[in-house]
């Protein structure tokens, strides 16, 4: 009773105190987030700043965050350096030939798992998921031997592209299958009544509804291929065939010339390699988050 009456009389001040406390918590959260955010961005921001400095500025004591004069020509210099343009193009070729393959074939395979009943379906599905557990180290060596001995494909892009055209990996298929399962079958049935065959159902009914999931899969595949180091490292040894990730490492391992530090140019190349991934993510961010959440990744 007593408590109730206190609560009744003091409810106004109570509410004010509560609001003040909530505001304090909110501000503390903002402060913590801001500090963490700065810490998180600092390395990359410093890299961008360094990519716009002169070589001598990179060794300045004490270090300055901003360049004296912004050296945009660093980008022109690095970009017009023959090998880098070539490496960049090579990466684009590999990615450009891989992503459509992964999206296309993963859609077909996911469709078969999500919408058809056929003998051994659950068995194949389990087999597919079990490949997620198998470390790539196991298959890397025999794959290399197969590509090298039977096809002579060392120093070509084929070993980097082919895996995308056979479903693009278990995770990709799983993601799309989960997404397809959420689309009501009534839609298929309606289209079937209208005389559509199974491919027409997939193409004109399901694919348009899958756009967020397809965008997610395409981005993930792009990032995977663009960032891939081990594949190119194992299969490509001719510097002309290098992708960006190999090229950047090549650039880093070049002996420092004693004349002028090259750090600023190395950072320029680092930024150039990161730009496509970041740009792509920002253009499709909405789809991406939606795709991850909707594909039931959360549990």
């Amino acid at each position: 009773m007593a408590i109730q009456s206190v609560a009744a009389t003091g409810s106004a001040t109570h509410a004010r105190a509560g609001a003040r406390r909530r505001a304090t918590i909110l501000w503390l959260t903002y402060a913590a987030l801001t500090i963490c955010g700065i810490l998180f961005c600092f390395p990359f921001l410093w890299t961008i700043a360094t990519s716009l400095k002169t070589g001598i500025e990179t060794r300045q004591i004490p270090p300055q965050f901003l360049p004296e004069i912004v050296q945009w020509q660093n980008y022109v210099k690095v970009w017009s350096a023959q090998p880098l343009t070539r490496w960049f193009t090579n990466s684009l070729i590999v990615v450009g030939l891989s992503v459509p393959g992964a999206v296309l074939t993963a859609t077909l395979v996911a469709y078969s798992f999500a919408r058809f009943e056929f003998p051994l379906r659950n068995f194949w599905f389990m087999v597919m998921l079990s490949t997620l557990m198998l470390p790539y180290e196991v298959t890397l060596i025999p794959q290399y031997i197969i590509y090298q001995k039977f096809f002579g494909w060392v120093n070509t892009f084929w070993p980097l592209i082919i895996p995308s055209w056979v479903g693009g990996g278990a995770f990709t298929i799983f993601l799309l299958r989960q997404f397809l399962m959420t689309i009501p079958r009534d839609l298929d049935d309606a289209a079937r009544v209208d005389g559509a065959n199974s491919f027409q159902i997939l193409w004109s009914v399901l694919v348009p509804l899958c756009r967020p999931a397809l965008a997610t899969v395409a981005i993930l595949q792009f990032l995977r291929e663009w960032n891939d180091f081990l594949g190119p490292f194992v299969y490509l040894n001719d510097p002309k065939k290098f992708t960006m990730s190999l090229g950047l490492r090549f650039f880093q391992t070049l002996p420092e010339s004693t004349m002028e530090p090259q750090t600023h140019l190395l950072m320029t190349a680092t930024v150039l390699m990161s730009v496509p991934a970041i740009l792509l993510f920002f253009s499709f961010q909405r789809y991406f988050v939606q795709g991850i959440v909707m594909s039931g990744l959360k549990g």
């Binding site: 074939t105 597919m128 001995k149």
Partner: protein, 306 residues
């Protein structure tokens, strides 16, 4: 029953099966050619001595015996990988969860922060390693300069010091993964916890900490488990950052297990021995995952009948 058997034999049903396998075929072909056959070959190679140029020679279990008894880098590389994983996984998963909790408040501007934290994970691993290597360069890298200029302390030589090289790689891994997809998955998990549960807890008089401990955490255990499994597999396979930054050095300090396999296979062309190493590794990963699945029964909470 009758319907079943009729359906099974009807031409329409047969057509459906053929179509299903047609759609399945890209993966099926890929599985046979790029996984199934390589797995069989890999098992076979692991019992041979094989340098790619000359024919393989059957040597029985010798590769496996050598790994445990004669390989100087076998146990050390396992130990270094374990050290790296033992720090990266718990700190990384806890860090992602903490960030997600902060970002889960319904307030303006959180999407900007989410993007800020996500950014490092978008930077390609080779690029972020090059960046980190320069950032922690002992003589003129900005971190050591800043530390020296502000405190006068001479910071460790990071990638050049055998005892600081792994911590340097760990810091890189944490920076580039804490705010990435793992955090997005946690955020989705947090948003999936129903408001009713919180309201019920509030009515029962639970404070913020109690609500976190007794509502949020149990409801998130499936997500934590999922991220833990992915984290273990990822951390044990650490390769690219160590190769680009230090190539296993200095003095074998970052000679991780995956690097050991790579060097044996593609530098010394001991394909048979490297296959045996890969199988020992696969066994370890599978056993660890299995143990995690068993342990999960006692701490992962599944809603409903799942």
């Amino acid at each position: 029953m009758i319907k079943e058997s009729r359906r099974r034999s009807s031409p329409a049903r047969r057509r459906q099966i053929v179509e299903a396998y047609l759609y399945l075929s890209p993966w099926l072909i890929g599985y046979l050619a790029l996984t199934f056959i390589p797995v069989l070959l890999s098992v076979y190679y692991s019992f041979t001595s094989y340098d790619v140029i000359s024919r393989e020679r059957w040597i029985g279990a010798q590769n496996y015996i050598d790994a445990f008894t004669r390989d100087d880098q076998f146990w050390p590389s396992l130990g270094k990988t374990a050290y790296y994983a033992a720090v990266t996984i718990p700190v990384g998963v806890a860090g992602s969860l903490l960030l997600a909790i902060f970002l889960n408040v319904r307030a303006r501007g959180t999407s900007v922060f989410r993007t800020l934290f996500f950014m490092p994970s978008l930077i390609p691993i080779v690029a972020s390693t090059v960046l980190w290597f320069w950032l922690l360069q002992p003589d003129w890298g900005p971190i050591n300069r800043l530390i020296f200029n502000t405190t006068g302390v001479i910071a460790p030589r990071w990638f050049q010091d055998p005892s600081w090289a792994i911590p340097a790689l760990i810091s890189l891994a944490l920076w580039s993964s804490v705010g990435g997809t793992r955090m997005v998955i946690f955020l989705a998990g947090l948003q999936g916890v129903s408001a009713e549960l919180y309201d019920a807890a509030k009515v029962d008089g639970a404070g913020a900490m109690a609500r976190f401990r007794h509502v949020t955490l149990p409801m998130l255990t499936p997500t934590i488990f999922f991220n833990l499994i992915l984290g273990i597999i990822g951390a044990l396979q650490v390769f690219t950052s160590a190769l680009v930054a230090t190539e296993g050095g200095p003095a074998y300090a970052t000679w991780f297990y995956a690097l050991h396999i790579y060097k044996e296979a593609f530098q010394y062309f001991n394909m048979g021995y490297a296959s045996a190493l890969a199988w020992l590794f696969a066994t370890l990963v599978i056993v660890l995952t299995w143990v995690q699945m068993r342990l999960a029964r006692s701490w992962v909470y599944y809603d409903g009948e799942k």
